[in-house]
């Protein structure tokens, strides 16, 4: 055992991309190794849960916790790592605000089980078995972690010290954070978002911005946008306007709209609401002079109908972290 501070990384309900993003800091990984003992990471190392349980409380300097809280097991690991870590960082969008797994909050657990285990055309399940926490078998009772009604964020179940946004976080931003820790620089107050900017992606985006007036929205496959002009002005739903800066406007750079992976900008509680506020003020319903109240609503609906799935589009990464957190009921 070395005397270096211990670094751990854990995945809850995640895709594995966050682990890749850590390795993506390339040769700087050697600096990480020189400064930390990287001791727990189920994706890359063989350390087990029991090894963590055997450690003294606060024995780990930093834990990068990625993944959302979908199951009882995710929560159990979050609690264990909270107890064992001096600094617990919600790493990546899933852990910070629920991300793609969080979109499942638009449906109930029951609906999920129905689709996945019963109605799926490729499933053969004549006795209609769906997962239950406890199952009696001749040898005794089998127990599996329960599947929660809703996906939660890390900070819904434990106190997280910091949040690093991104799906996944950008390597230069990850390095900024690690470097700050290694150099012993003063970290921002607990509860802050780190490894990102505070304003919106639009601010980092070099596209030409003019007056925004939109008559119809287009999905990315419906047009090849001009490379210079703001995508939103061309009718592509670009979330840059409601998304925290920090990535360097990567997606607009390659002619794709920002889909919002850095979450809401500083001071905004709800990315989708922010997007509605923004889009609602730039849609163009034509000459309004003398229009009746009903006609205003009708024309607005016509423009809006070109966005088929507002919830899935505006909350692609942030549903569990949003104000309403998903479907009510």
């Amino acid at each position: 055992m070395s005397g270096k501070p211990k670094l751990s990384m854990y995945w809850a309900t995640a895709c594995g991309g966050c682990e890749i993003s850590l390795v993506n800091i390339h040769e700087k990984v050697l600096d990480v190794d020189a400064n930390f003992e990287f001791m727990f990471c189920p994706c890359l190392l063989d350390t087990k849960k029991k090894d963590i349980e055997a450690m003294p409380d606060k024995g780990i300097a930093i834990t990068l916790f990625n993944g959302a809280i979908r199951t009882e097991e995710n929560e159990e690991m979050a609690r264990l790592l909270r107890k064992k870590s001096r600094v617990l960082i919600a790493y990546g969008s899933c852990s910070y605000e629920g991300c793609i797994p969080g979109l499942s909050n638009l449906h109930s657990r029951e609906d999920h089980f129905k689709t996945i285990y019963l109605d799926n055309p490729t499933v053969d399940n004549p006795s209609g078995v769906v997962p239950t926490p406890e199952t009696a078998v001749p040898e005794g009772t089998l127990r599996i972690p329960s599947f929660y009604e809703r996906v939660k964020t890390l900070s819904d179940v434990v106190d997280a010290d910091y949040f690093i946004p991104g799906c996944p976080p950008e390597p230069h931003q990850v390095w900024n954070v690690i470097e700050a820790v290694v150099q012993g620089r003063q970290l921002p107050p607990a509860g802050s978002v780190i490894g990102a900017g505070a304003s919106a992606v639009c601010e980092e985006c070099e596209r030409k911005k003019e007056d925004k007036k939109i008559k119809k929205f287009y999905r990315t496959y419906e047009m090849i946008p001009d490379r210079e002009k703001c995508l939103l002005e061309q009718g592509i739903v670009c979330m840059g306007i409601a998304t925290r800066s920090g990535c360097g406007a990567l997606c607009p750079k390659v002619n794709m709209p920002c889909t919002g992976c850095y979450g809401p900008p500083e001071g905004v509680l709800d990315q989708g609401a922010k997007m509605i506020a923004a889009l609602g003020s730039i849609i163009d319903i034509g000459d309004v002079k003398g229009l009746s109240e009903e006609e205003i609503a009708k024309r607005a609906d016509a423009v809006i109908s070109s966005i088929p799935d507002p919830a899935g589009t505006f909350y692609k990464y942030s549903l569990p972290g949003s104000i309403l957190k998903g479907r009510i009921s």
């Binding site: 009882e72 929560e75 638009l106 109930s108 657990r109 926490p133 329960s146 599947f147 929660y148 009604e149 809703r150 964020t153 900070s155 179940v157 106190d159 997280a160 949040f163 509860g191 802050s192 978002v193 809401p264 500083e266 001071g267 905004v268 509680l269 709800d270 989708g272 609401a273 922010k274 509605i276 506020a277 889009l279 609602g280 003020s281 849609i283 319903i285 309004v288 002079k289 009746s292 109240e293 205003i296 609503a297 607005a300 609906d301 423009v303 809006i304 966005i307 799935d309 507002p310 919830a311 505006f314 972290g321 949003s322 104000i323 309403l324 957190k325 998903g326 479907r327 009510i328 009921s329």
Partner: protein, 177 residues
């Protein structure tokens, strides 16, 4: 709790009180079908028109149901969709946004923007399982005390019939602490 998203950042209008006529307590015109359920409704009223309309209803002593908690805003265009979501999150059964009539907004386009946002919000709320009747947008001018009363009565009656907002179930095994 995530305190990196300070709630205090959002300015709430100070004037969060019942409308001037809030004292006029009266039961709604229809009998309650949902037992004793009294809907809690948050109303965002534009200072220049609907708020004055509410005042007018008050000074003419027209009776209307007391279920609406009025928040005065300087323009319907100031109603951030976050306010509406917060209202639902905090337990409102319905939200009313009242604006100046088209062409009458003191800031020219605030009411058009509000109307457009409202249409988009309805589509989103629908995906969240919140019925469109729970989020009403309408136009009430300073002189339309009776229209104000009608909108309030209609909305309260409709929501009373619909019942309270649904709540999300908790998984049985979930910790609650």
């Amino acid at each position: 709790m995530k305190n990196q998203k300070p709630e205090t950042k959002r300015k709430k209008p100070e004037d969060k009180k019942r409308s001037a006529s809030g004292g006029a307590k009266s039961k709604s015109s229809k009998p309650a079908v949902n037992g004793d359920f009294e809907p809690k409704i948050v109303g965002f009223l534009c200072n220049w028109c609907s708020y004055a309309g509410a005042d007018k209803a008050g000074t003419s002593q027209v009776k209307y149901p007391p279920n609406v908690n009025v928040v005065k805003v300087m323009c319907s265009g100031r109603v951030d969709p976050q306010f509406v979501m917060k209202a639902f999150e905090k337990g409102a059964d319905g939200v009313i946004i009242l604006a100046c009539h088209p062409g009458d907004c003191h800031y020219k386009e605030g009411n058009y923007k509000a109307a457009q946002r409202h249409r988009m919000l309805l589509k989103l709320l629908g995906q969240f399982g919140i019925e469109k009747e729970r989020c009403r947008f309408d136009y009430v001018s300073a002189g339309e005390g009776d229209k104000f009363v009608k909108v309030i009565k209609d909305t309260v009656d409709t929501i009373r019939e619909m019942g309270p907002m649904k709540k999300t179930k908790k998984s049985t095994s979930e910790r609650t602490e």
